[in-house]
């Protein structure tokens, strides 16, 4: 009896782990799309509204998905504070805090980090160029992510349970 319960537990655990992994693959494309949308809003604020960056960040934070908002909210807060830091420093700080709670991968974060080099520090035409570049790169990442999601989601969903099953058959 205990054996059976143990076997079920093992399968459930590995199954759960597999599904969690699969979920990550499934959600990353969506997060990337949300990030693109956020940059789009930021661009609108900068180009058409000429909104100062701290304010623009807060506008973005208030209008995007709750998983994406913290990055912009924190960046806005950093910029609002009295400290004489550069935009890059404020952005990096926000990104570092953001990286621990997002499904975005290093390659995605690199794109955003690079954006920090020029954010706010040039005329609007130049800003638009850099934002477009970042959005374009995120789009490519999103496409790759979707491609990978197709295969990996199924794979990990099965792999978890099957690993559990294997363990059970070997040790039963």
């Amino acid at each position: 009896m205990i054996r059976i319960a143990g076997a079920v537990l093992v399968i459930a655990c590995t199954g759960y782990l597999g599904m969690a992994k699969a979920r990550k693959y499934a959600l990353r494309p969506r997060e990337l799309r949300n990030m693109q949308a956020a940059l789009q809003i930021l661009e609108t604020e900068i180009i058409y509204g000429a909104t100062p960056l701290p304010e623009a960040m807060e506008v973005v934070a208030s209008r995007v998905d709750k998983n994406t908002a913290p990055l912009f909210y924190q960046a806005g807060q950093e910029l609002e504070s009295m400290t004489v830091c550069t935009v890059k420093e404020a952005w990096d700080q926000a990104l570092n805090a953001f990286s621990s709670r997002t499904l975005l991968e290093d390659s995605d974060l690199r794109v955003l980090r690079q954006l920090g080099n020029c954010l706010g520090m040039s005329d609007s035409r130049d800003q638009a160029k850099h934002l477009h570049l970042a959005m374009e790169q995120l789009k490519i990442e999103a496409m790759n992510a979707a491609e990978r999601a197709k295969t990996h989601v199924k794979l990990w969903n099965y792999l978890g349970f099957l690993t559990g099953l294997l363990l059970v058959t070997v040790f039963y």
């Binding site: 900068i46 000429a50 960056l53 009295m82 550069t86 520090m121």
Partner: protein, 333 residues
């Protein structure tokens, strides 16, 4: 961003507002200077890869990396590119794209009315300066509001019915023209009960944002309760706009000299509105040599000329000349 709040007390130390936009290392250097020196501070000049220079009432001097004054530029603290980036970010509120219009004019006004002049590489579009990039030079001018400078001369600018006369303030740069004009505007706008002078509506064209020190359109200086300010507006156009829209009794503007300014001034005078203005120059004879001003004087409409100098400190009133007689009357020597 409420970067430079005008709290009680900070108005007495205008340089404190400036310090908050400077990077920490430079701020620390300046804070080590004696307070008496800081009180006389006029400008802080930052030029990338060149020494940090501060200008005070008696000249300029370099600062070395331990915060000591030095006359030898070789010992001075050298401004780095990183310092510049930090100042740019503070001056522009992290948004250079939002101050393109200001960059075109070459200066930005900070809250508190302090002005920051900028130099860099001009971006040209259709033959005109569109904006600046690669900003590599700052001149941070500490603006001081000195109230009461105009009070002693106001009586001689009034006619016997208590109306203000057409007045031209003239002096070389740095003698307190702008300060005097600002205070005069404040007085006539608020009214002076001791002189039985009720406040009148004043229209102020502040092309260089020096008089009212507007930050986002709101005057940061005390320019009186009945003063309407057109900030950053070309003088000639601004005077006409005010005349049409704001029904001023007095129109005030800074540093006239161009042909179109004089034309607009004439228009204002013909509309029965009093004019108060300033002009660069040391004497009437000298400004007579400039064609546009010569024309203005030939109209014989300006009734009072106030001549300033630095002979007894900034803002010494040398003379007040009555327009009709051109005779001199000594005041407050």
């Amino acid at each position: 961003m409420n970067l430079l709040s005008t709290k009680e007390g900070s108005t007495h130390k205008p340089y404190r507002q400036i310090l908050s936009i400077l990077p920490e290392n430079i701020r620390d250097l300046l804070l080590r200077l004696p307070v008496q020196f800081m009180d006389r501070l006029e400008e802080i000049r930052l030029r990338q890869n060149r020494p940090l220079i501060v200008t005070h009432t008696a000249g300029d001097v370099c600062l070395d990396s331990s915060g000591q004054l030095t006359s030898n530029p070789g010992d001075a603290y050298v401004i780095t590119g990183d310092d510049m980036q930090r100042v740019i970010r503070m001056v522009s509120n992290s948004s250079l794209y939002a101050i393109e219009e200001e960059l075109k004019n070459g200066f930005v006004t900070l809250p508190g009315g302090h002005r920051v002049g900028l130099t860099g590489k001009a971006v040209i579009e259709l033959g005109k300066v569109k904006t600046l990039k690669y900003i590599s030079g700052f001149n941070i001018r500490i603006s001081r509001e000195i109230k009461g400078t105009a009070a002693p001369i106001l009586p001689s600018l009034l006619d016997r019915w208590g109306r203000v006369k057409h007045t031209l303030i003239l002096s070389p740069p740095g003698c307190g023209k702008t300060t005097l004009l600002r205070d005069l505007v404040r007085l006539v706008s608020n009214g002076v009960p001791e002189l039985n002078f009720d406040g009148v509506t004043v229209g102020l064209v502040d092309e260089r944002s020096e008089l009212a020190g507007c930050y986002r359109g709101v005057p940061q200086r005390d320019i009186g309760i009945r003063t309407d300010v057109l900030d950053g507006c070309p003088k000639a156009e601004g005077m006409m706009m005010l005349l049409r829209a704001m029904s001023p009794q007095i129109v005030a503007t800074d540093e006239i000299g161009k042909q179109e300014d004089i034309k607009a001034l004439e228009e204002v005078i013909n509309a029965g509105v009093t004019v108060i203005s300033t002009v660069h120059g040391t004497s009437l004879e000298e400004i007579m040599r400039r064609p546009a001003l010569k024309y203005l004087l030939s109209l014989n409409v300006i009734e009072r000329f106030v001549i300033l100098s630095r002979s007894k400190g900034v803002g010494t009133v040398e003379d007040i000349i009555y327009g009709s007689s051109w005779g001199t009357q000594e005041v407050r020597r």
